[in-house]
Subunit: 388 residues, 2 copies
């Protein structure tokens, strides 16, 4: 190892920067409950405050992987598409084949722009033949969808409904859910959902989540009942050691889950990120970006996504700007996310690099803000998702 | 005063919630400089970390109104519109008459959706006959504009360029600017700009800002030079006691400036917010929302915006959810922003209420989270902008 790559000093630690609160950065219906549970760090997601840690990200990892956790993910806003052309329009703005989706089914999908660049990676829920929700990652797809629909041939209504998700994630999730909702929670298949209620409060319950663990999402359809729902969930989870939790960077990276804005943006297309199974290029229906993506598929993507094992001290701060990656002194791409994996006892990272370097067992150099480090490429996911 | 309105306990104070940093919440080119200057609180603006205070909002108010301050407002992202139909397209997505704008001029404008609801209130800069920037408030107008342009008749390119603004605000702003840029800074009219450079680094310099004080914006066109520019500005401002500053909630409210997402959203139209002078309903050209707004103008807006003087202890926390406003027990609207004004020695607030209550000298009740308070309606601005 050359001297330069042995300088593995700490990645810069940033001071705590308190988030200023006002009506522009909206509190979710669960915000006050999160405060009561001692939320320790937050992000802003779709213009909404969203917890990311309570007693630290590593404690959150253990809570999530060993028990059951409740997450305020109200920031996953829904874009609701209804009207006579809702199915045709939804087909046009997502990369999956919507015609094959049954009511009551959800799908992870992508929203692309004309050149195939990714604008969001929502979960699409079909609530009716012409009734859809796009459960969003962090970008204003409400504006994109309204813009596309404007002056278009589609007769649709597009709105952000009063719907706020909470995630129940971890191996004991079903134990929490069963007393509240009955045994149907055991029968729900992955990416299946039902419209139901709890004591008359309307909800959608789905077998989805962003954890890599077994779990559910509950979509609250009456924002004023957020605190009540949170308390009911905690009561039900108490026998199983429920904890307040949040999207966990360590576990999601082990599972290979991507974060829009962190690991992908509109400069990247689904094929170079290894997301081709979420893009139906063979269907009869057109969608925005399809022509460009067919071209990419024909010529082969120029870049690829690959995992990295990174040497040196544990990395506990993800890049705030993507770190350059070089091979033999030549720039080949960027590192988008990093974490220390307690399970693997290694630093793991996601990189997007030239296609010929997106293969396992290459040695690359990543350029952290204070020193370069050596890294070995490895397939993603790092750890097989426990439940699919 | 009835007993209920005398319970003027403190508005809830929230614990410091540290913002988690990763590549999704982007640092601006001035981020490290802001850290060095001891930034004390931040927000997230167009997916970017943006300082809102250094030594507190009240100290920031004094720095801004008495000297000169430098603000990292890199979060004011630009949407750049170019191509053969750039002028026609820009005309279509903003409420002002673009045909009358000269190159080198900027205008405060609104972007509306079909029903007239406001999507953003950018400053529009005309850099060429077919070259525009929309300098954005906090919503993804890049996606809206791309969506509207998709499948449209307009031959345009729409992108987010490498452009990051910094604001120089306060009565001594010209003193800071003159040694760097020469005497033309004294000749720039309000909402006029020029394309220039500093030591070869390309910039746009405009007589604009979001402070209510005299000031400039410098649009850095080479993100890698953020720290360098910040340092050059500080050196130039040192003789005049320059301080790091930020958009200041107190001063902007005194001046009547609105914050998109805080004081307006897509449920409100420009006419009910008193923004009719920024909407050209009489022009020949069509723009999105025009038909709906003509209808509103004909029937008269249902709501209006009005200022409030609010009784009780100083209010130092703006609503995180709009506070209800009642008159004689009937709900009439919401309070969107509040602050203590050191100059007026009063609590001031913005409200949007039924049109017949949007007149001065009415007594209303505002419902803070802990107790109702009495308020008297008053015209906006509370303090005349010092320079126009």
């Amino acid at each position: 190892m050359c001297p330069a790559t042995r300088r593995t000093g700490p990645i810069p630690e940033y001071p705590d920067l308190p988030l200023s609160l006002n009506a522009r950065v909206r509190p979710s219906p669960f915000f006050e409950a999160s405060l009561e549970h001692g939320v320790g760090a937050v992000t802003v997601y779709n213009h909404m405050v969203m917890p990311v840690a309570y007693e630290g990200v590593e404690q959150g990892y253990h809570d999530l992987t060993e028990g059951v956790t409740i997450w305020d993910v109200g920031g996953q806003r829904q874009v609701e598409v209804t009207g006579p052309d809702a199915a045709r329009f939804t087909q046009y703005v997502v990369t999956r084949d919507v015609t094959k989706m049954a009511v009551g089914r959800a799908r992870y999908t992508l929203v692309c722009q004309g050149d195939g660049g990714i604008l969001n990676d929502p979960v699409l829920l079909r609530l009716g033949q012409n009734h859809f929700w796009l459960s969003l990652a962090d970008s204003d797809i409400l504006l994109w969808a309204k813009g596309v629909a404007h002056d278009s041939v589609f007769d649709v209504s597009i709105a952000e409904p009063d719907v706020s998700p909470v995630q129940i994630q971890g191996p004991r999730s079903a134990d929490l859910m069963r007393p509240l909702f009955g045994s149907f929670v055991d029968e729900l298949k992955f990416y299946q959902f039902i419209e139901t209620d709890l004591e008359g409060v309307p909800l959608v319950v789905s077998r989805t989540g962003w954890s890599g663990e077994f779990g559910y999402e509950i979509f609250l359809r009456e924002g004023s009942r957020g605190r009540w729902l949170w308390e009911r969930l905690f009561e039900a989870g108490e026998p199983f050691g429920v904890k307040a939790g949040a999207p966990n960077n360590i576990r999601r990276m082990e599972a290979g889950l991507l974060s829009y804005g962190t690991d992908m943006d509109s400069s990247m297309n689904p094929l170079e990120l290894g997301l081709e199974k979420f893009v139906d290029l063979d269907g009869d229906d057109d969608f925005i970006g399809k022509t460009a993506l067919i071209d990419v598929a024909r010529s082969g993507p120029a870049r690829g996504r690959i995992g990295l094992f990174v040497g040196g001290d544990p990395i506990r701060q993800s890049p705030i700007r993507w770190w350059p990656v070089t091979i033999a002194g030549e720039e080949t791409g960027v590192v988008t996310s990093t974490t220390w994996s307690p399970r693997l006892e290694k630093n793991i990272a996601y990189a997007v690099v030239s296609a010929d370097h997106a293969v396992p067992d290459l040695t690359l150099t990543i350029h952290t803000p204070d020193a370069p480090r050596q890294a070995i490429t490895t397939p993603i996911p790092f750890v097989d998702p426990r439940y699919r």
